[in-house]
């Protein structure tokens, strides 16, 4: 229970922000928080609170997996790379050949989710393939 107290501000904020399927479990000295945030900004805010409670996330006592619930098949997603183009690959993995690119800040379509990490996307030119989900943010 000690960890649930340590991260209470975080779980309270998740509840207040309407994070869906929120699951908070403590096991072997690690707290696991899973859920679906209603927007990207709610997710960002939760990570900021995490950083405040445990600066630089170095304690190793929390695994937080928050997805954004608006990222559903058919949704428009924006390429949020640092500045480079985003690789579109033949299959879900960096070992897969690159079949196309999406420009930084380009808005493309999420076709389906192969996993939490790899999403099948389609560019406006009709190129289809898998991209790393972390570089894709639902357009809000």
């Amino acid at each position: 229970m000690a960890l649930q107290d340590k991260y209470k501000e975080l779980t309270d904020a998740a509840t207040a922000a309407g994070v869906g399927n929120l699951q908070v479990r403590e096991q072997d000295g690690v707290l696991y928080i899973d859920g679906e945030a209603p927007s990207g900004s709610v997710k960002d805010n939760l990570w900021n609170i995490y950083d405040k409670i445990d600066p630089n996330f170095l304690s190793g006592d929390l695994v937080m997996n928050i997805n954004v619930s608006t990222a559903v098949p058919g949704a428009k997603v924006k390429v949020v790379t640092e500045k480079s183009n985003l690789n579109i690959r033949k299959g879900p993995g960096t070992d897969q050949p690159i079949v196309g690119k999406a420009a930084h800040n380009e808005i493309i379509t999420l076709v389906s989710k192969s996993s939490d990490q790899w999403w099948l996307v389609r560019t406006n030119d009709g190129e289809e393939g898998y991209s790393y989900a972390q570089y894709l943010a639902p357009v809000e």
């Binding site: 908070v24 072997d28 899973d34 996330f57 790899w118 790393y132």
Partner: protein
């Protein structure tokens, strides 16, 4: 003598009349009034109540024993209620949350490769579900990396050897 009997009779009748008017004609609270008061109480809105001759039978689901006695007290407090038959059932406790699912090392290792592709100075390995991160990075990059690693369902992420510039 006869006069005294008459007087006595009159007195008896008077007393009887008084008692009839004072006790028997006391305004009776209707069952429908009790029902209306129960319906007006938001705390009782999830329950079903039937009222017959001032006896209220409560049924429905409450979350615990405390709530069961609270609703009973609330109903007893309504004017005209003679008795409460509390047939409320206590809801079963929610099942404990499912334990976290920890990914196997092979998918973790593949996930790490994908997550660290753009961060060549950061290394990470997976052993029995535990990801150990080393190397050096910036704070902003580390946040992105930690987000990506946590999404792989590791047992934990150890990064105390990581240099954050």
């Amino acid at each position: 003598m006869k006069r005294r009997i008459n007087q006595l009779l009159q007195a008896v009748m008077f007393v009887t009349l008084i008692s009839i008017t004072t006790f028997s004609c006391k305004p009776k609270i209707k069952d429908t009034d009790i029902e209306a008061k129960i319906h007006a109480n938001a705390a009782l809105s999830n329950l079903t109540a039937s009222v017959k001759d001032g006896v209220v039978t409560l049924s429905g689901e409450v979350k615990d024993d405390a709530e069961k006695s609270t609703v009973e007290t609330a109903v007893k407090g309504i004017e005209g209620v003679k008795q409460v038959v509390n047939n409320c059932t206590v809801a079963p406790p929610p099942p404990p949350p499912a334990p976290p699912v920890i990914a196997a090392d092979d998918p973790l290792t593949k996930g790490i490769t994908d997550a660290l592709k753009d961060f060549p100075k950061v290394k990470a390995t997976a052993a029995e579900g535990v990801i150990t991160v080393t190397g050096e990075t910036t704070k902003a990059e580390w946040k992105k990396i930690k987000m990506a690693l946590d999404a792989l369902h590791p047992k934990k992420v150890i990064a105390n050897e990581l240099k954050i510039k």
